[in-house]
């Protein structure tokens, strides 16, 4: 299929594509009829969605609706059982080389940060570039320092996660994911475990990241962030992708009754 092809196949560089309006860009994530069960319980039910290169998608919905599982099937932390997933032109199969390639394409940020507590912030960031990309230590550390500056905490490089505030830990986690130079960033409720004072500093980093043209899929209930940054919003309920639309459509003119009631509950 023509529209499965990554950008390079169409003879355009990534930055050229990002100049195009969203509708004309290539699809970086494609879901066709994706199902997943935990035992006999259907967590994902016939998911069909196409996400454009550079698009920012906010995924929301009640707990247990399958939104986190959806996110985790994008980098195959969870395997789907029916349907088809293509990430940046790589078809999701059981082939381990495909898996490695997709993991290189995607970076993930978790609700509980999941920094490695026995390593300094700097080592947390340099580990994967050194061990997976075989980058020399010096180069990896320079890159890590640049990333720490980008997320605003270069002075915390030598500290251990336990010595950092929640917001700082989450910013290190974002830097750690960015260090692998992913095409897609996945955020799994990145601000849900944070004190109110620290949510803003993490959202600011995500906002800047979105402005650089990064493709982002964020599970979050920060509706202010969604309204301001998202190109599209997607409501999950009982394993189904119930409604997608621009923030404008979702907030002002939702098509589904469920979207309306859910928004009423959280706003």
């Amino acid at each position: 299929m023509q529209d499965d092809q990554p950008a390079a196949a169409n003879g355009m560089s990534k930055s050229d594509i990002l100049q195009l309006p969203l509708e004309q860009r290539d699809d970086i994530i494609i879901y066709e009829g994706v199902h997943k069960w935990f035992g006999t319980f259907c967590v994902l039910r016939d998911i069909n969605v196409r996400i454009k290169r550079g698009e920012v998608v906010v995924v929301f919905g009640p707990s247990g609706s399958g939104k986190s599982t959806f996110l985790r099937t994008i980098n195959r932390l969870e395997q789907h059982q029916r349907g088809r997933i293509v990430v940046d032109g790589i078809e999701m199969t059981n082939d381990i080389r495909n898996l490695d390639a997709i993991r290189r394409e995607t970076g993930m940020v978790f609700q509980q940060f999941n920094l490695f507590p026995h390593m300094t912030a700097l080592s947390n960031i340099t580990l994967a570039p050194m061990r997976v990309r075989h980058m020399p230590r010096r180069e990896a550390e320079e890159a890590a320092m640049q990333l720490l500056e980008r997320v605003g905490i270069p002075e915390q490089a030598a500290k251990y996660p336990a010595e950092l505030s929640g917001g700082q830990q989450q910013r290190v986690a974002i830097a750690r994911a960015l260090a692998m130079q992913p095409q897609i960033m996945l955020f799994d409720e990145p601000t849900s475990a944070l004190d109110p004072e620290m949510i803003k500093e993490v959202l600011d980093v995500m906002r800047e990241l979105a402005a650089t043209g990064m493709t982002m899929v964020c599970v979050t209930h920060e509706m202010g962030f969604a309204r301001e940054v998202a190109d599209r919003m997607a409501l999950f309920d009982e394993g189904m992708l119930l409604e997608t639309g621009t923030p404008e459509q979702i907030f002002n003119n939702p098509q589904e009754e469920r979207t309306k009631t859910f928004l009423d509950q959280i706003l």
Binding site: N114, F116, H118, P161
Partner: protein
């Protein structure tokens, strides 16, 4: 500018007087109520009379000749006198290693090395009948430490730990070979290292040799077994489970018996493996089964989200284990590991069952050997207890220091 809350309301009030200072401590901990006051006084009286009896015995009754007359026996057993320089060479090697540890980590290693060096130095100065050469070798222990210290000094800082490991393994093997000696078929004993029979390697030296060997070998074997048990490959998993549960189901004494009487039947006829090596291997195997379960427990306590984070970064599964879950798992169980080492050290006294003369056996043999010593059991066992306590306490102390050092950045 608005003032802070503390500026508006002034400093917080001090705690009530009866909760601070030594009076406060006494009141809170010993006399917090009528009943606890009575218990405190009763225990105090009991302790006083026990101490009084102990001091009386120490001053008027005890006779330490049973120890002082035969110090070398307790330290090296019936090791041939003309070869005493060989354990001393091993001691110098180990001292050099301690010096390296001092330079590499400072802190607990420094305290331990200093205490050990001082102890040996004092022992070497005791006016005891000893050859000048042997005394000189003992006095050279601090020099060996300094040598190790400066060797480490000239190694670049980031590779010191690695070189300490390599040197440590070398020192252990060299010590074992130099103490036990060896003979190669057709060549004989190179460098005049005549083999010493297993019953001649004894005393504290035997306990320490077996413990050092067991400790250093059982940790990596235990880790390997634990990883095997967590593996998804059914055959590997089953083999590890079978090994661990079999070994844990059998008393160490039984294993020692088997190593002496059954294992040699499987060797070719002209090969005679010293009991020293057999018992060392047996203790290692025994300890590594327990170590494996400790390690498994420690790794199970690491959140599965940690390995997911590693996977999401594109690390391979073995890399996730090696760099993320294993280090955290091991840090979780430092107290359990050291506890295992301590019990291993004490278990080395069980080798008397296969006819080896460890420290405890030497003490017992001393009591029954001479009629004038037969009443001195108290002195002998107190002495043995003290020696074991000094070593196990040092291990516990170092463990606490390591925990504190690694505790930096704990969740």
């Amino acid at each position: 500018m608005s003032t802070t809350t503390a500026e508006r309301f002034g400093p917080a009030p001090p705690p009530p007087a009866f909760t601070v200072g030594w009076q406060g401590w006494l009141r809170m901990n010993l006399f917090s109520s009528w009943s606890s006051g009575i218990v405190t006084i009763a225990l105090g009286v009991a302790l006083f009379f026990a101490a009084l009896g102990g001091v009386r015995w120490l001053i008027f009754t005890s006779d330490w000749a049973v120890i002082t007359d035969r110090v070398p026996l307790y330290i090296v057993g019936t090791y041939p006198r003309e070869y005493y320089w060989r354990p001393e060479i091993a001691l110098l090697l180990v001292s050099g290693l301690m010096g390296m540890a001092w330079r590499t980590w400072g802190g607990p290693a420094r305290g331990f090395a200093a205490a050990f060096g001082a102890l040996v130095f004092v022992v070497a100065l005791i006016p005891y009948q000893m050859d000048v050469l042997y005394r000189a070798l003992l006095l050279a222990v601090p020099a060996a430490m300094a040598g190790g210290y400066y060797c480490a000094h000239f190694i670049p800082e980031q590779s010191r730990t690695k070189w300490f490991g390599i040197t440590g393994a070398g020192v252990l093997i060299a010590s074992l070979l130099v103490i036990a000696g060896f003979s190669l078929p057709g060549i004989g004993s190179p460098a005049g290292l005549h083999p010493v029979t297993e019953s001649e390697v004894g005393g504290l030296m035997l306990n320490l040799l077996l413990a050092a060997f067991g400790i250093i070998a059982s940790l990596p074997i235990g880790i390997a077994l634990a990883l095997g048990r967590r593996s998804r490959l059914p055959v590997l998993k089953f083999a590890c489970v079978a090994f661990i549960e079999t070994i844990r189901g059998v008393p160490l004494i039984t294993l020692l018996f088997m190593s002496r009487h059954l294992l040699p039947l499987t060797f070719p006829e002209n090969i005679d493996v010293s009991l020293l090596y057999l018992s060392g291997i047996t203790i290692t195997i025994f300890s590594s089964a327990y170590m494996a379960e400790n390690v498994r427990g420690g790794m199970a306590a690491v959140s599965p989200q940690q390995s997911q984070a590693g996977e999401a970064l594109g690390l391979k599964q073995w890399q996730t284990t090696l760099f993320i879950t294993l280090p955290q798992g091991l840090r979780n169980i430092i107290p359990a590991i050291v506890g295992q080492f301590i019990s291993l050290f004490k278990d080395t006294s069980l080798v008397f069952i296969i006819g080896m003369l460890d420290l405890v056996e030497i003490g017992r043999a001393g009591l029954s050997g001479k009629i004038e010593y037969s009443d001195n059991g108290m002195e002998v066992y107190l002495f043995l207890a003290l020696v074991f306590w000094v070593f196990t306490f040092s291990m516990a102390y170092i463990s606490r220091r390591i925990e504190r050092t690694l505790g930096v950045g704990r969740r």
